[in-house]
Symmetry: C2
Subunit: 403 residues, 2 copies
């Protein structure tokens, strides 16, 4: 599904979508920093947004735009978060939508706005305006890569994917670009993610699918436990594929849902794996818990523990820190029923350390992708959380990133 | 209060207490690793313990011992946590109490047991037995420093204090030793802390005072958000000062309470300041919150944020990360009412960044002790949380600490 060819096509893989990414001069580095995604055909729209009480101005503007159920475009910038910028910030975010709408020939309320970068600094609106004008003039069906590169901050690469599936007898396409590698934490609030599809689906069902999927994908990753002020995931569905409009939870809906789930799962994994300074990609599988919520709480407790994360950075099979994090997750547990495995090798079982093949475990710890399994032995529910390790590089990136 | 002379006296400053610390060979380094604290005169005892679901064997043994309300001794080791050691661990912890009781000539149920160090490894009981025998033979009124050094792990120094106060017309003494610099997080579970006093006080009142004080001292520090399996704070009050026994919440109780509060506050601050790899001591004062619980939640959210902690390591006045952590604390807040100050200098006020003297702020950020004030502008409650920064050294210590 995440083939190189399709990934490059990204948000322009579905019929009727164009994109562009330009250098507006917002990032100090001079890199690409302003993106526009556009569909001439009106799209059903759905979005999930940060739950941070100091959500940034663009979040409020986009939440309003999503309410109508339809949209034509997304305009996003990196380098400045337009967060904690008060009344001026709100005006600037609204102006971004208006400027894009004017250039595109649509209404301002049909434009979603997103920003990411430094908090507490106002947007350089002259540069933003110039950038929007240029981006709109450069919109193309090969513009997804530039758009993806224009929304990254400390990411080491731009996340993108695309896929095709048959729904209602028609070939339906999906594409996405996403960014995020710091301030990554559950409760949505994880990143910027723009998903496009030419499927025809009612906006209320689209929202329901996105909200449900977010709970088991974007809300299941943790890099540093910090919840950003800015982040959002949105889906635009313009119906250009010509499938019968999905209006109920039928077979077509299930195919749509499964595809969107696969896309969001893949993006969530990529974001966790590309966490700031990460050298390991950790999957925490919690099994046999009494509920999804308890399984998630255990997984998140392990994923967020700095002691666990530094141990994996050091390739140290320190299962004591893992079981310790399980123990303080706030979930009832019975040590005697609990089993912890690293890469399928039991390291803690039934209250004590398990005997293991040291060489085999050393090999597991030396891999880039490591699966930590926590079997609570106490129910039928499960949850999977994705995380990364904690390295010197994380401290360097965040200790030297100056305001 | 925390004068050098008294601190050295530590747990042996109060009349009737002896202590010793010896090399039992439990720590790989060969340093002091086994401590005994003893009062021949029976002491009222109180304790608070980790809430981790995988609490270590010594925690259970000590919880039982505290239930009777009286005790004569504490035996503690570093280098091995005796956690996640199952039935054998429980037997070993009980054996530690029995061995010490036999040497001291008291009952096993009058001996508290504590361990700290690596999780999942069984205690070398032959060495522990030899160590207990030696420690008891070396008990003295100048043994507190050795005892303090015998309970440290990654601490850069042993925490100790002592003080004297008049209660009920008598001079009453208090002393303490404490350790803890990793796996430090609220909900008790913060460290090992042994406090002695020659005050006479009923054990139920002693427990009430300790529990109440723990909420605003040891439970208000966060180094890495990890809650240990092992930690405890206990007070032994042997009544040797001859003050009228404190049996109700009178003036004597209030003096006793205030002194214990000052001791626990000081130790909590020292533990936070000596966090693993710490280069900064951060005090987070949350004011004008709607309740203590909400103020604490906000303070802890800031204290635990890796992004905030790395920013202070980098001496970067990145208030955006602080207000972001306030925003996701799960507490209702109004950005327009909120003010954030670093070292008394407003950096965020009423929804936007505040204008500040850059040179003055740079000076604040360069200090070792930094106060972050968060005024929620929405009530009369407050809370103070103590934390430290996140450095390369933290990653080094915990990435290279091998099991």
């Amino acid at each position: 599904m995440f083939s190189e060819k399709n990934a490059k096509a990204g948000v322009t893989f579905p019929t009727g979508f164009k994109a562009a990414g330009v250098r507006a001069g917002i990032k100090k580095s001079g890199n690409l920093d302003l993106a526009v995604i556009y569909t001439e055909k009106e799209a059903a729209v759905a979005g999930v947004f940060t739950q941070n009480a100091v959500a940034a101005a663009p979040v409020y503007v986009s939440q309003e735009a999503v309410k109508s159920g339809t949209a034509h475009a997304v305009v996003a910038n990196a380098g400045c978060a337009n967060a904690c910028t008060g009344e001026q910030g709100r005006k600037d975010a609204e102006a971004m939508a208006s400027m894009a709408a004017k250039e595109l020939g649509c209404k301002a309320e049909d434009v979603l706005v997103a920003s990411t970068g430094v908090i507490g600094v106002n947007l350089p609106m002259d540069r933003v305006e110039q950038g929007i004008r240029q981006a709109v003039s450069e919109l193309s069906e090969t513009g997804s890569q530039n758009a993806g590169n224009a929304i990254v901050t400390t990411d080491t690469y731009s996340k993108a994917c695309a896929t095709e599936v048959e729904i209602g007898g028609k070939s339906v396409r999906f594409g996405a670009i996403a960014k995020g590698s710091g301030m990554i934490q559950p409760n949505m609030a994880t990143m910027l993610c723009f998903i496009t599809t030419d499927a025809a689906i009612e906006s209320s069902l689209l929202q329901e699918a996105l909200s449900e999927i977010t709970e088991v994908t974007f809300n299941m990753i943790s890099i540093d436990g910090d919840m950003s002020t800015n982040d959002m995931a949105v889906v635009l569905a313009n119906g250009a594929a010509g499938n019968p409009v999905i209006r109920e939870k039928n077979e077509d809906y299930r195919k749509f849902f499964d595809t969107l789930l696969a896309i969001c799962t893949g993006l969530a994994q990529h974001i966790a794996a590309d966490g700031e300074g990460a050298t390991k990609f950790l999957t925490i599988d919690v099994k046999h818990a009494r509920s999804f919520e308890e399984a998630k709480a255990v997984g998140m407790s392990v994923a967020k523990s700095p002691l666990v994360k530094t141990a994996f950075f050091g390739e140290d099979p320190n299962w004591g820190r893992v079981i310790c994090a399980v123990g303080y997750a706030g979930v009832p547990m019975t040590p005697e029923k609990t089993v912890v495995e690293f890469g399928g090798i039991p390291v803690y079982a039934h209250g004590v350390g398990a005997k293991y093949d040291e060489e085999a475990l050393r090999k597991v710890m030396s891999e880039h992708d490591i699966v930590i399994t926590v079997d609570m032995g106490d129910g039928d529910s499960e949850a999977t959380v994705w995380s990364c390790d904690f390295s010197y590089e994380y401290v360097k990136i965040n200790g030297e990133y100056h305001t």
